[in-house]
Amino acid sequence: MLALSTSVSGLSVMMVAVFVACAVEMVEALTIIVAVGHTTGWRHALRGAAVALLALAVIVGAFGPALIHIPLNILRLVVGGVLLVFGLQWLRKAILRSTGYKAKHDEDEIFRETVAEIEAVTDQGQRERVAFVMAFKGVFLEGLEVVITVLTLGTSARHLSLAIATAVGALVLVTLIGLVVARQLSSVPENAMKMTVGIMLVAYGTFWSGEGLKVSWPGNDAMLLGLVALYAVVVWAMVAIIKSIAPVKVSA
């Protein structure tokens, strides 16, 4: 019973991390697709996005089964290390954005820049090619981070299929929402979502690298929830301290 509840808590953290990571990256990719679609028509935007998704699926198909054959302790140590670096990078950016030390990701600005870049091309054929490439790059580059999250979390937890299904679920959901709200993607609380993913990636990174180094965590998988809580408190405290002792001076 205890084993069942602990493995469920571990899987829940993995699914939430994959879902939110996929959703937040999809918001960025969707902004570019919508901008391309509005400027040159949806055919090129959707074709670029579809080819990028196909390329990402090939990467998952090629690397996923290969990773499963690596001995579990080595896999968890390496994957844990990668997740730690990746998660700490996300947390660093999210803390700096929350405290005003870094500009927040502005979807409206990305939309304007994408439209301006396409409209600068006067030749129709050339413009269609640029539109395709921009849609492809937008989805591929944003999707690559999701692929790494899915592959690392999925293979370490030995639940790659579940991680892929969760990512596809997030992809479908964000696409549907995107179709409805279209230009209101800027209202998505992106920084809070990135902070959540960062906390989960760092928690998973700590847990897996510890497992790879034969650290016996108290409560086994349930320790993941403890690590999530610990890092959430640390991040909250850091944001509060920076805001109080070193606030960013806003010029009038």
Binding site: L77, G80, G81, V82, L84, V85, F86, L88, Q89, L91, R92, I95, L96, T99, Y101, K102, I148, V202, G205, T206, S209, G210, L213, K214, V215, S216, W217, P218, L227, L230, Y231, V234, V235, M238, I242, A246, V248
Partner: protein
């Protein structure tokens, strides 16, 4: 052969940007964190209870260091 070299180079560059990029301190502190934990839990055979506390503590220190460095630069 040239194409193969290009692919290998691109693959290496991707991982360099991904793991090191503009925050090399995070890569270094993570390697140190895992190295110290490995020393304690595997090589020195010290009770792993210490590693349970030390590993998350070193991760927190890494985060504080990189954020303080970024705030100090501005």
């Amino acid at each position: 052969m040239e194409l193969l070299w290009k692919i290998i180079r691109g693959f290496g560059m991707f991982w360099w940007d991904f793991l090191v990029g503009d925050t090399p301190e995070l890569f270094v502190t993570t390697v140190l964190t895992l190295g110290v934990t490995a020393l304690i839990s595997e090589v020195a055979h010290i009770h792993t209870g210490l590693a349970v506390v030390l590993l998350p503590a070193l991760v927190v220190v890494s985060l504080i260091m990189t954020v303080v460095r970024a705030v100090g630069r501005r």
